[in-house]
Structure formats: structure tokens, C-alpha cells
Amino acid sequence: MKRNNHGKKRKNKIRMSDVIGRIYIVISLFIALFPIYWMINTSFKTEYEIYAKTPTLYPHKFSLDAYKYLLENTNFINSMKNSLIVAAVVSVFSILIAYPVAYTLARLKFKGRKMFSKAILFMYLLPTSVLYIPLYMLLAKLRLTNTIWGLAVIYPTFTLPYISWILIPHIADISRELEEAAEVDGCTKLQTMYRIVFPLALPGIVSTTIFTFAMCWGEYLYALVNLTSLDAQTFPVVISGLIFGDMPPWNQLMAAAVLAGIPIIIIYTLASGTLVGGRTAGGVKG
């Protein structure tokens, strides 16, 4: 009898932990998604409606004015183009230069390896706020402030260490057998690295590239410090420039946030569904 009671109690407890878990998930989902819904909702409202006494849960008068104004009367499209160019150029450049580093750190024993991997980790953990003034002085000396190429020169300071570090476990997980076979067949180290291991590491490389792209896409501090001319500004600088006065055009700001945020959400979701996103996502600076 006593035993039975005990068993019953245990069952109840398990069920309770499940219930608490489910409730927690629902609340978390609400907290995670409501602000995003609110952003989308606001972007489709008229200026009149956003300052209504009682906020409306959906746009009563559906309006594309905010988007229209943003695209026609501000520098937003040009800034998206700038962001896209910088992020794409830096991502491709960084993968090309950092892949061999990750490969050698994951696979080869060589003199100074420990020092080298420590240095990479150190640079990966070094926050941008330590470097922004020295890098501003560097770009000023090179006369590269106010161009997106200046950003393309300094963004690799965080993308290169990030890729070198994050790719190591992706490469280390690949079985060595193929490489050994290739070596027996007379492949050089360089051929093995690019022809054998690179394709096998591709899922990890693709997801790492996506995260690298996203890091550059949303970068604010370096862009703020180095870009003052409208032509060269990336979208975070343009968005922050939309705020002035006591009644900022929140529908336009939210429209800009939607246009800048939704592509990234889509890419991430695709990447985390099909690729090994979890591990790579964990390492993004932020």
C-alpha cells in the first residue's frame, strides 16, 4: 500500500515538471516573439495610429506609408546596399583566409601550435570596444574613413579569429580515413586540405559564413565612428539617424527594423534547420 502511494506521487511529480516546462515554453515564446510582432505591427500603421491613446493590436488602417517614405525619401536602400557589399566581401575574404588556420589547428601538430591557438582565442575574445579608437586612427592614416572599404579592412579583425576558432571542431569531427587514403595516393597537404576536407566541412563552413555575414550586417560601433558621409553609411547608422526630436517616426523606424531584421531571421532559420547551426550560433559576439 505504502509502495503504491509512493509510485503515484512520483508519477504526479513527473507530470508536474512537464506542465511547468510547457508553461515556461509558452511564456518564453510570448516574450521572445511579441516584441517582433509589435515591430511588424507598428511598421504598417499610420503616424496618427501609432500615437493613439490606446495602442491597437493590429493596424486598423493598414498602411505602407512608412515603407514608402523610407524607400523613397531616405538613404535607406543605398545603406542596405552598402551593408550587403561589406558583409559579403568580408565573409568571403574571411573564410578564404581563416579556413587554413582552422584546418592546421584541428589536424596538424606543428611548432608553436599552442601559442598560435591561444593567440587566435585571445583575438576572438577581444571586444570591439578596445579596438575602435585605434582602428579609427588607422583608417584616418590610410585615408579610408568614410568609405565602405575602410569597414571591409577592419571587420576581419573580428571575423577572422571567429571563423578560425569556430571551424576547428567542425573539422576535427571529420574522420581522418579519407585524408590518410589521399596521402597514400600521393596528394599533397594543400590538395588534401582543399579537395578532401573542405567539401566534407562544407556544412560547418556554410553556417559559419552565415553567422559571419550576420555579424558584419548588423555591426554598429565601427560604422558609427568611421562613416559620416551619407553615401557610405551602412544601414545601422542610417536607422539611428532617423531618430530626432521628441516624436520620432516610429512606424518608419520599425519598417527599417523589419527590412533589416527579417532577411537575417529567414537565413538563420534555414541554416539552423538544415545545418549545424547551434554550435556556430553560440559563438557570435554580442
Binding site: 509589435w38 507598428t42 596538424l108 586612427m137 560601433l221 523606424l253 531571421i265 554580442g286
Partner: protein, 292 residues
């Protein structure tokens, strides 16, 4: 064997040369140059003259700087505590088997994937005193009866930057800890069930020891990022009201870019270096454990 390692070494440095040269020129050189400049009176557009420790003396004597350090500590301590607790809860909840688990996981990751600037403006609008939804929700729940001016008082302004930072940062803890949770064998829990362990005991004696390392790792990394947070504060409160939320890097930005004192701005970062080095040292030891 010996020749093989020599060959490896030669190969490794040959293919790593582009990265070494690039980061040497664009990261290491500017960093060293910057540290040297912190001992000068370098201003934007001006020449640098050696002034010894003057920048550091001025900083330590400046009450605004000292307050920014206190603000940074408050902000970081609060944010990291919340992110750790909420991240563990998120991981535990996601570790249960239920329909739509993968979808829930992907959706809960979204805040982490958004560009920070998008997140910050989103919260600035939510907390806006006129038209903001935060006040409306709190009023409907009868928690407040008058609109709060979120960015107008020190405590509430600190709360807004913590909320924005925690909202975006929690999924990082969640997925990191979840990855570790999924490696714990179910056998342990079954054995504990047979022994009649309760939920808390199972967490305390099985789950917690397993996730301790990854939680500390996540917290250390997040601490580095949070201490150095700039845009969340700069774009949400601007450091206001009256400097009540001005953190270290907002102070550094204002000093270097508004007052144009580059040397002194770098000195702010240099003064934070010891703390940063300790954190990086702790992390390095944890992240490179297998090295002999």
C-alpha cells in the same frame, strides 16, 4: 617523425601567413599603437605629445568616469544573473520531449539572431512613454495607474537596458546549455527515479554538475560582451537620465568622439584591460583544456 613535424610546421605557417600578416597589421599593430597613444594628448586632427600618466590621472579623478564603472558593474551583474537563470530554465524546458520542440527552439533563438540595433529600437519603442505598449500592458493589468516615464528615472532606465540585453542574450545561454543537457544519459534519471529522488534533487545531483562547466563558460563569455556593451545603452537611454546609465563604453565614446580626446578614450579601455585579461585567461584555460 621529426622531419614530419618540421614539414607540418613549414606547411602550417605557409598557409597561415595571410592571416598572420593581416591581423598583425590591422589588429596587433593598431592595438599597440593605441596603447602608446593613451600616454599622449592625441586629439582628433591633432598631433600627439607625450604626457605620461596624465590621461589616467584625469580619468581616475573624474567622478563621471568612476560612476560609469559603477554603472557597468551594476548593469553587468544584473544582466548576467538574469541571463544565466533564464538560460538554464530555457534549456531545461527545451530538453523535454514534446511536439514542436524543434520549432520552439528555432523561434526562441530569434532574439539572438536579430541585429542588435533592431532589438534596441524595438525596446525603445515598447518603453516609449507616449504610445508605448509597455505602459499600456501594465495599466491593463492594473499594476500601474499612471504612465511611467521609463527613460526618465535612473532605476527604470537601468531596467530597460537590462531587459533589452537579457532578451537578446538569453538564447545564447539556452542553446549552449541545451547542447550539454542532451548528452546526459537518461539512465541517471531513471536510477534516481527508482531511488525516489525528487525534481530538485535530480537537478542538484545529476543535472547541475553536468551543466556547471558550460554555464560558467557561457557566463564568462557573456560577461566580456556585457562589460563592453555600447549600442544597447547608447541607443536606448544615451546614458541618461543625467548619466545614471552611462556605462564605461558610452563614456569612452563620448570622450573620444565627442570631446575628441582619442588618447584619453583609449586609456578607458586600457584601464579595463586587467579585468578583461583575467576573464580571457579563465576562458582560455577552460576552452583549451586538452593542450599539454
Amino acid at each position: 617523425m621529426k622531419s614530419r613535424e618540421t614539414k607540418n610546421t613549414k606547411f602550417a605557417y605557409k598557409v597561415n601567413l595571410p592571416l598572420i600578416i593581416f591581423l598583425g597589421a590591422v589588429l596587433v599593430f593598431p592595438l599597440v599603437w593605441g596603447i602608446c597613444m593613451s600616454f599622449t594628448n592625441k586629439v582628433i586632427g591633432g598631433d600627439a605629445q607625450f604626457t605620461g600618466l596624465k590621461n589616467y590621472q584625469k580619468l581616475i579623478g573624474d567622478p563621471e568616469y568612476r560612476r560609469s564603472i559603477v554603472n557597468t558593474i551594476k548593469f553587468t551583474a544584473l544582466s548576467i544573473t538574469l541571463k544565466t537563470v533564464l538560460g538554464i530554465c530555457m534549456a531545461l524546458a527545451l530538453n523535454q520531449n514534446f511536439k514542436g520542440r524543434n520549432a520552439a527552439r528555432a523561434l526562441l533563438m530569434i532574439p539572438w539572431t536579430l541585429p542588435n540595433i533592431v532589438v534596441v529600437y524595438n525596446w525603445r519603442w515598447i518603453f516609449n512613454s507616449s504610445g508605448g505598449i509597455a505602459n499600456h500592458i501594465l495599466k491593463s493589468l492594473h499594476l500601474i495607474d499612471k504612465d511611467l516615464v521609463w527613460f526618465g528615472s535612473a532605476g527604470l532606465a537601468l531596467l530597460t537596458i537590462v531587459v533589452a540585453n537579457v532578451w537578446r542574450g538569453t538564447p545564447f545561454f539556452g542553446v549552449s546549455i541545451l547542447a550539454k543537457l542532451q548528452t546526459i544519459s537518461k539512465d541517471y534519471y531513471e536510477a534516481a527515479d527508482i531511488d525516489g529522488a525528487n525534481l530538485f534533487q535530480k537537478f542538484r545531483y545529476i543535472t547541475f554538475p553536468e551543466i556547471k562547466d558550460v554555464t560558467i563558460l557561457s557566463a564568462l563569455m557573456s560577461t566580456i560582451w556585457t562589460i563592453n556593451e555600447f549600442e544597447t545603452v547608447y541607443l536606448l537611454t544615451g546614458g541618461g537620465p543625467n548619466g545614471a546609465t552611462e556605462v564605461m563604453n558610452v563614456y569612452s565614446y563620448k570622450t573620444a568622439m565627442r570631446s575628441m580626446m582619442l588618447g584619453r578614450g583609449i586609456a578607458v579601455a586600457v584601464l579595463a584591460m586587467p579585468v578583461l585579461m583575467i576573464l580571457i585567461g579563465l576562458l582560455t584555460r577552460r576552452m583549451l583544456p586538452e593542450e599539454k
